[in-house]
């Protein structure tokens, strides 16, 4: 017996995040740490709770252990509910056989029975790798007001960057007339944020259609795909369904690359606080670490930084984000860097413009990364240095800018 829900959210969290290299070696991208005490998935989960959506399916596939542990029963996000709540939905074996998720649309297709239990009017489809605060209930209201079949959240991007995104072309009433994935010559600057509201009956129909079409193509040896942007949206447009673009204004960051992950953390330190995580009316929830408050020592110099509980800092930290339980010893320097949970940075080490994964040991006098101005003429070689999780960097080692280290050195 399940109570009917107006809205069910489906969160696509199976992404590998291969461009985050060593940082996603053992964890799915939505479990990547961000902002001192969060993981990426805290943003969509907190948005759901704050938007009054209390039924969320989380579709996992790649390296789900950390993510499953982290989500648990959903209590930190108030999603431990008798009716609804958060449900982790891994691929499963049925009488028809076992099957991995073969694309975003197929992942939802395989879990249609989960959605049907709640008999919803609307289904919100979300990704797990963006940082933003958004009231999904307003988007659902917009969807209803427009009598839409599908509403796609869009954000205005600079023209120069538009070719990196899926671009929506709309008429004056925000109705979508065309959709182009990563166009070479963009006709619009409205980029899809990968957030959709569907009228469930319509989505159900198109998911089944796409599944059958794609399977038929596969049998014929043709190219096939089971993807939201590429297949579902395109088919709905072809059939002249009512698709609308919901323009979002505010902070939105895709953290698909090391550079953008670094930038997104630095954005928390800037003067332009467009992402205010101190806002009590729209809290971002996370699973707590039960550590004591942070201790800043007698030799410490801490400025322009964000530091989480359990950290012990006796060195110099400037323009950096330190996660829970990080140790910065006396005489160590961390500038413009991100240090993930449990990592120890020993005396004499200098870390600049770098991302260091969790539970690493950075031994004495290690040098990681450089300031761009230290590089000299050839700035193209410069980039963020990155160390994976559980890596030990032995004393005196040097990690150059742009270098990626996934194993002990």
């Amino acid at each position: 017996m399940y109570t009917k829900k107006k809205v069910v959210a489906m969160l696509l969290a199976g992404g590998q995040g291969s461009r985050l290299y060593a940082l996603t070696k053992n964890v799915a991208k939505p479990a990547v740490p961000y902002g001192g005490k969060y993981r990426l998935i805290d943003f969509p989960l907190s948005n759901c709770t704050n938007s009054g959506i209390d039924t969320v399916g989380v579709l996992t596939q790649y390296q789900p252990l950390v993510l499953n542990d982290y989500i648990g029963n959903g209590q930190p996000w108030d999603l431990d509910k008798m009716n609804g709540g958060v449900h982790v939905l891994p691929p499963y074996e049925s009488q028809a056989g076992a099957s991995w998720y073969e694309g975003t649309a197929n992942a939802i297709y395989q879990n249609m029975n989960f959605i049907r239990r709640y008999d919803p009017e609307y289904v919100v489809v979300l990704g797990g790798d963006h940082i933003y605060k958004m009231d999904y209930s307003k988007m659902v209201d917009f969807h209803i007001a427009n009598e839409a079949d599908c509403t796609i959240s869009v954000i205005n991007v600079p023209k120069a960057e538009a070719s990196r995104f899926g671009i929506m072309i709309c008429d004056e009433n925000n109705q979508v007339t065309d959709f182009v994935e990563k166009p070479k010559e963009p006709k619009s600057t409205l980029a899809s944020m990968g957030i959709y509201v569907f009228s469930w009956k319509k989505l159900e129909k198109y998911l089944i259609e796409n599944e059958n079409d794609a399977n038929a193509k596969r049998e014929r040896g043709e190219k096939w795909s089971k993807d939201f942007g590429k297949d579902i949206i395109t088919s709905m447009l072809r059939d002249k369904q009512r698709l609308f673009a919901y323009e979002f204004e505010g902070y939105w960051k895709d953290v698909g690359t090391l550079d953008s992950l670094w930038e997104a953390n630095m954005d928390l330190l800037g003067k332009d606080r467009s992402l205010d995580i101190h806002d009590k009316s729209w809290r971002i929830y996370s699973r707590s670490s039960y550590m004591p408050p942070q201790y800043i020592g007698n030799n410490a110099k801490v400025e322009n930084s964000m530091i989480a509980e359990g950290s012990v800092v006796d060195g110099s930290v400037d323009y950096s984000v330190l996660f829970a339980g990080v140790t910065i010893e006396e005489g160590a320097t961390v500038n413009y860097s991100i240090i993930m949970p449990g990592t120890i940075v020993k005396s004499g080490a200098v870390i600049e413009y770098a991302i260091v994964g969790s539970d690493c040991v950075i031994e004495n006098n290690v040098c990681i990364g450089k300031r761009p101005e230290q590089i000299g003429e050839n700035r193209d070689d410069w980039g963020i240095a990155a160390i994976g999780h559980n890596v030990t960097i032995s004393a005196g080692s040097v990690v150059e800018p742009s270098e990626l280290v996934g194993e002990n050195i």
Binding site: S288, P293, N298, E303, N304, M306, I307, E309
Partner: protein, 374 residues
Amino acid sequence: MSSVNYNVLGLIFASMHDGALPELTKHRTMGSIPFGGRYRLIDFPLSNFVNSGISEVGVITKANYGSLMDHLGSGRDWDLARKKGGLHLLPPYSQTGGIYEGRLDALGNIWSYVEHSKAQYVILSNCDVVTTIDFNPVLRQHKQTNADITLIYSKGNYDGDINTNTTILQFDDENVINDVLVAPKIKGECNQWLEMLIISRDLLKKIVFDADSRNKVSFTREILQNKDCGYKIMGYEHKELFMRIDSAISYHAANMMLLNAETRNALFKYKTPVYTKVGDNPPVKYGIEANIKNSLIADGCIIEGTVENSVLFRGVKVGKGTVIKNSVIMQGAVIGQNCTISSLITDKNVEIRDDQIMNGSETYPIFINKNGNI
């Protein structure tokens, strides 16, 4: 954490010695006094029980227990929202409507709760001693020595002129306690009772029922100090750090002690965390002119000034040009710009406007009431 031990019931007296800290217990019990940046005193005994595998815990309240109820909720943050056992808040009223005076009549009032437990042993704890202890070795010793009652104590320096609540224990050659002195006027290293004891449930029942019929209320006076009671009372020496909170000065000093790595390492061990209510605060943000030395700072703070030798609780804001030294600033304080503050204890949600100067001294810290506005 060890596996679950259903054989022990934990009982916490949330209000014992409330009178020692009138400023801080005006609105709350001893157990709900904020401590160490993100904790309440009751978090320590609760976590000690949980980390010892004891998952059936009753909290005996007295007056002003609203803040305590708010803090504990269902017990979920201590993993004590359980079907078997779990956390129970035990209000102070007896069948006749009166509020208890001592441990014995408090236990009499709540006995039906204890009666329902299947546990063979009961551990009693107060909230005014901060320490981290595993109760399993205590239980083992209690059984091995065939003691009727085992009191947990530590050796430590004692000064009868300063320590007001301390109970001192003396032993005979067989290590049996032969004298119990409450706040004696002596000085030097003494065996100090940590306000924790273990007893079998059957014996406790006998004592409580007997006390009820004879109108006795004080466990210390009637049992521990009564040499004719005939019980074998032993001591268990706890060899780790403890801090007794029995005055505004010792409260301030105990918070300051957390600035020592040794103290923090003794209390906050990786495998036995101290659990507390989760606040969902973001990490601390330090501004461009922040200058922090030797301080303990909890999540949710935004600091743009100078903070030295201080403990800042969750969500404290410190403005530019402000200097805070040797102070304990509780949750939610908003301190303006260019203030000079030293040896201050502010209760929750205090607001201090720009350009204020407030200097207390270590022997007499200034105390500012909850919601105070300066």
